[in-house]
Symmetry: C2
Subunit: 340 residues, 2 copies
């Protein structure tokens, strides 16, 4: 049976009223006491927001966004922008806290947002990956953006990597290419994207009746020159590819250097398609880079919309966690420029 607020009070050794104060985010509770109450909630697996919301006298009209490492994937801040636009649209303020993937900062950030009575939290990763948020996130309605919890503990939205890989490959096939090199992302660091896109690449080839040649697929590791080096390897093959699918626009920068160094033209000799639609790269390359966009803005919007649904349904039982087991996938669209 689910723990009640009285169970929490008993375990924490405080009054019902004190627990209620913590749930209401009142700052009159001493930090050490608040910590005891939160620990008791954790231990009892208590999900307080149904009750807490009913105890509240007014709405805060505020939601929180926790992002993991904004500085390392700056182009993904469109997630923040999308979340913000959707929040504004519903008359909500979005408070953003970055954690730089530090566990203590994350725990603090969640606690502080709860204190500020946020009605819910969106938790955003700056690249598609598996996450294990601090358990305290269970204390409010929460939605994951550009990441997923392996056990499906939260609703989540991610890019449809397989569809994107398929679209990139199909686009090159549609332009008459038959030997298509694929400089894929790091299969460990970027597992979700790398695996999904490879499936899409292979499916597009198969649908067109083209053979899958493992020699045409290279995987980048963390070294930043892999776009250049791996492209150089592919171009120096005896039967070199006439088109390249690069795992991101940054690697396409290196690919351009390798192609031009060999006196080849883009797209006449080698067509190039990127991934990410990182505008400050794609539009500055010459010719401008055709690429597959990540739906950052849309994921931000979707996440907040889903969160507000959860908030609105508050007091009602949530769907069982298994309902969240499969993240919602958003389409990665083609952005046509001049490199294919």
């Amino acid at each position: 049976m689910a723990a009640t607020i009285r169970d929490v009070a008993k375990r924490a050794g405080v009054s019902f009223k004190t627990v209620s104060r913590v749930l209401n985010g009142e700052a009159t509770v001493r930090p050490v006491t608040r910590q005891r109450v939160l620990d008791a909630m954790d231990a009892l697996d208590y999900t307080p927001h149904h009750t807490a919301r009913q105890m509240r006298t007014r709405r805060s009209n505020t939601i929180g966004l926790i992002s993991d490492e904004i500085a390392t994937s700056p182009f993904a801040v469109d997630i923040v922008k999308g979340a913000q636009l959707e929040a504004w649209h519903h008359g909500m303020l979005l408070l953003v806290v970055n954690t730089e993937r530090d566990a203590q900062h994350e725990a603090d950030a969640i606690a502080t947002l709860l204190e500020r009575r946020v009605e819910g939290i969106v938790y955003a990763a700056m690249f598609h990956r598996s996450v294990e948020p601090n358990d305290r996130l269970r204390h409010v309605p929460a939605v994951l953006i550009d990441c997923f919890e392996p056990n499906g503990a939260y609703p989540a939205v991610v890019p449809d990597e397989e569809q994107g890989g398929h679209l990139a490959t199909q686009t090159l096939i549609d332009h008459g290419h038959r030997r298509i090199g694929f400089v894929n992302l790091d299969p460990v660091a970027s597992a979700a994207a790398a695996a999904g896109r490879l499936v899409g690449y292979r499916r597009a080839l198969a649908e067109a009746g083209l053979p899958f040649d493992p020699e045409l697929v290279r995987h980048a590791t963390t070294a930043t020159d892999q776009g250049y080096t791996l492209t150089a390897h592919l171009l120096d093959l005896e039967d070199r590819p006439t088109a390249l699918f690069c795992g991101n626009d940054r690697m396409a920068v290196g690919a351009y250097c390798a192609i031009y160094e060999r006196g080849l033209r883009i797209p006449a000799d080698v067509a190039v398609i990127g991934y990410d639609d990182q505008e400050e790269i794609a539009t500055y390359l010459m010719p401008a880079l055709t690429t597959i966009a990540l739906p950052h803005l849309e994921m931000g919007r979707w996440g907040v919309r889903r969160l507000l649904d959860l908030v609105a349904a508050d007091g009602e039982p949530l769907a069982d966690p298994p309902a969240f087991a499969t993240p919602h996938r958003l389409t990665c669209p083609l952005v046509t420029r001049d490199s294919v």
Copy 2:
């Protein structure tokens, strides 16, 4: 004589206690009343934070960061990271609100941060420019980052563009170059950076006894292919430059394409130096781009440190606004890679 809290109450037609509630950020004040009080403060040019702070029973340990258009200059989010690191260092939480340069969002953001009892606000632009923040910013200690108010109404920190332009040019001169092309930023849209760097470029040439040749200086406009096009023009000069100073790393991407297209090598035939140290570009180019870094992280830290000084001095008279007339300038360091 400075307006008092009683003047504000009188003008707003509310009680002293109501004004005090607004100053304390209590949510029990009706929005329409709060608006009346804030309007009265504006009209009376009332700077409440001295009094307000004394009325507060406790510190919020929270500061706000308002940023203008995070999505258009994503690499500048290191400002947010620096501000956050410094805030954490002092046990403060940083609440971030983005406005996308929308005046109403900015006014709302400031009001909401005040409601949440922030002890001060840093106001960050995502590229070096002149700003006119909403007047309500005067209601708390505030510091501008990567921007300045033309009348010096706030303390501000910006990059030292002249020093950076000088360092870039000097670096190329030190490598033996005598004809140095300069693909500068848009002189209107990026006035502060473009003008400062040109002064630095000319000073470095003069110090080395080199002539200033206006033909070697080109200015980009908003079109994104300017790095490519302007470099092509410079390389096609009869007496072409042996080195290029690009106004940002994005333009260097276009410059590389133009250089390679002509069968020239970097740096053997043409050396290239960029500006910004936008890592995801600079490290993916081949050869990796030598560039001048913008001190985003340091500006974020400096801004919060200065803000916390102001907060600590609260109740004491602030320095006269003219003291802020000259923004504090932070050095733009050289990041040596392989293109010079």
